[in-house]
């Protein structure tokens, strides 16, 4: 069976060059970077090279990069670490309604533990308004956290403007850039970002590796205790091969970003327009054009349910994802689509295709050929659909 992978926002394959490099560090240069001997030194050196590569992609200095076990840990470290470090200064936190669970649930945990939280709404396209952020600020606000680009609908947020605001007000600014890294240029200095979350497995690097950029001078209380790795900001033997893979992936995507983006934008529009042309009662979710990630397609297909769509696509070897309640453990449909004002029933029938470097026009055309048939079949089964 052919296999078409259109779920790159969930995770990407590891680049072969990256994987090959990692192999060396698994089986030959396997030293612990904390060790004094040659095995340790060669690992340490490669680790520091990776730190440089990650820093370069986001306009930071290597000393400002702390490696973690992924985006989730980096988000937690940023938010819990700031709250703990600043609790004497204030108790008010600001975030947006469309953040990833790793951000939202961490804030909700803090809210249950004595902090106060304002969740900024979004407009129908899924975009936060800078004015809303400004209005939410209080004298005791210690942290603003807004993602760079949303993982479900690809909506790019006005980070530069929020960064200016945060700087003007002297409030720590955290940005979850897991989905934008390698797709949109990032410069933490120019964007006035204090804390930035990135993750390796969304940019053709290995899973289980991420990093938090911590601007020089910004204090964070660590989550875990133990060894003095990462200048005491993150304990535990470093995942050296993983980190080295992440570094390499950053270097590669830095070079390829412009071209990748051009190609994927073309495929994205072909797919999005194709679906709208071929299927009735379809709504595109998220912004159109410049404000949308180059690899994101998100549509709601009325009268059918998301998991059924996914399963049907899967039987043809097409991998996608959905904001349907039925695909998640929680049984609530996508909080992002609901925040954008979609009713439950329509959010329920949403489908996300996220493109990657290896996708082809031919694959897109195959999806465009198959999807209408699937929708037709499911609609025939649906009590909500009356021809």
């Amino acid at each position: 069976m052919r296999r078409i992978y259109l779920d790159h926002s969930a995770t990407t394959p590891v680049d072969l060059e990256v994987a090959t490099l990692m192999m060396t560090y698994y089986t030959e240069k396997y030293g612990n970077p904390s060790s004094v001997h040659g095995f340790g030194r060669e690992a340490k050196q490669a680790l520091e090279e990776a730190r440089r590569q990650v820093a370069e992609l986001i306009g930071a200095t290597p000393q400002e990069i702390v490696f973690t076990s992924g985006g989730t840990e980096a988000d937690n470290l940023a938010i819990l670490g700031t709250a703990e470090a600043m609790r004497k200064k204030g108790k008010h936190l600001i975030t947006s309604a469309i953040e990833h669970h790793a951000v939202l649930e961490t804030f909700e945990y803090l809210e249950k533990n004595g902090f106060e939280l304002t969740v900024i709404p979004v407009d129908a396209e899924g975009i936060v308004s800078v004015e809303d952020v400004r209005k939410a600020v209080r004298p005791d606000t210690i942290l603003i956290s807004v993602m760079h680009a949303n993982n479900e609908v690809g909506a790019i947020q006005p980070i530069v403007e929020i960064g200016n605001l945060a700087k003007e007000l002297g409030i720590t600014f955290h940005v979850d850039a897991v989905q934008s890294l390698g797709k949109i240029p990032i410069n933490v200095k120019e964007m006035n970002i204090d804390l930035l979350t990135v993750s390796s497995h969304k940019i053709y690097g290995p899973k289980g590796v991420g990093a938090l950029y911590i601007r020089k001078g910004v204090r964070i209380v660590p989550l875990a205790h133990g060894g003095s790795q990462e200048k005491r900001r993150r304990s535990g033997t470093e995942n050296t091969p993983g980190i080295i893979g992440f570094g390499k992936a950053c270097e590669l995507i830095g070079k390829r970003m412009a071209e990748d983006s051009k190609l994927q934008t073309k495929l994205r529009d072909r797919l999005m327009n194709g679906i709208v042309e071929r299927i009735e009662y379809v709504k595109v979710n998220g912004p159109i054009g410049e404000k949308r990630l180059s690899n994101n397609v998100n549509v709601s297909i009325r009268f059918v349910e998301g998991e059924s769509l996914l399963l049907s696509l899967d039987m043809l070897g097409i991998a996608a994802s959905s904001g349907s309640a039925c695909t998640s453990g929680s049984l609530d449909p996508s909080h992002v689509l609901l925040a954008m004002g979609l009713v439950h029933e329509i959010a329920h029938g949403s489908l996300r295709f996220s493109l990657g470097r290896q996708n082809t026009e031919e694959e897109i055309d195959y999806v465009l050929e198959q999807l209408p048939k699937i929708v037709e079949r499911l609609r025939m089964m649906s009590p909500l659909y009356d021809q």
């Binding site: 349910e305 049984l331 029933e345 649906s382 009590p383």
Partner: protein, 125 residues
């Protein structure tokens, strides 16, 4: 995650559709996830002669709908009334833990359709 049997019933659902002038109809929405199912019955004497369904829901919802229609066809309404959610799930070779609630849809819609049939009978009398 799903058994082969579930996937079979999802891919080739039995008894999809509507019955014109049915003897009983039952519709339920799953409060947990918002999925919806409708069951149509054609009853002669006490026997379920024909049954059809329409479902807006996940793979498990479709499969349990299909399965329950197969299980009741030809049965008496009393036999049908005692078919439980668990029995439907079991007939499908089991459902993932997080998907057990889906089987409620099918059994509940069936029981509602039978009650609707009984109500209709009372009204006729």
């Amino acid at each position: 995650m799903y058994t082969e049997k579930v996937m079979d019933h999802f891919t080739n659902p039995r008894n999809v559709g509507e019955i014109e002038n049915p003897d009983g109809v039952g519709e339920v929405g799953n409060a947990k996830c918002g999925d919806i199912m409708r069951i149509y019955l054609d009853i002669e004497g006490d026997i379920i002669k024909d049954v059809k369904f329409k479902t807006f829901g996940c793979g498990a919802a479709v499969a349990t709908s299909s399965m329950v229609t197969e299980m009741v066809k030809g049965k008496t309404i009393d036999e049908a009334m005692v078919i439980s959610n668990a029995a439907v799930a079991e007939a499908l070779g089991g459902l993932p833990e997080t998907k057990m609630h889906c089987s409620n849809l099918a059994a509940d819609a069936l029981h509602k359709a039978i009650e609707n049939y009984k109500d209709n009978q009372l009204k006729k009398e």
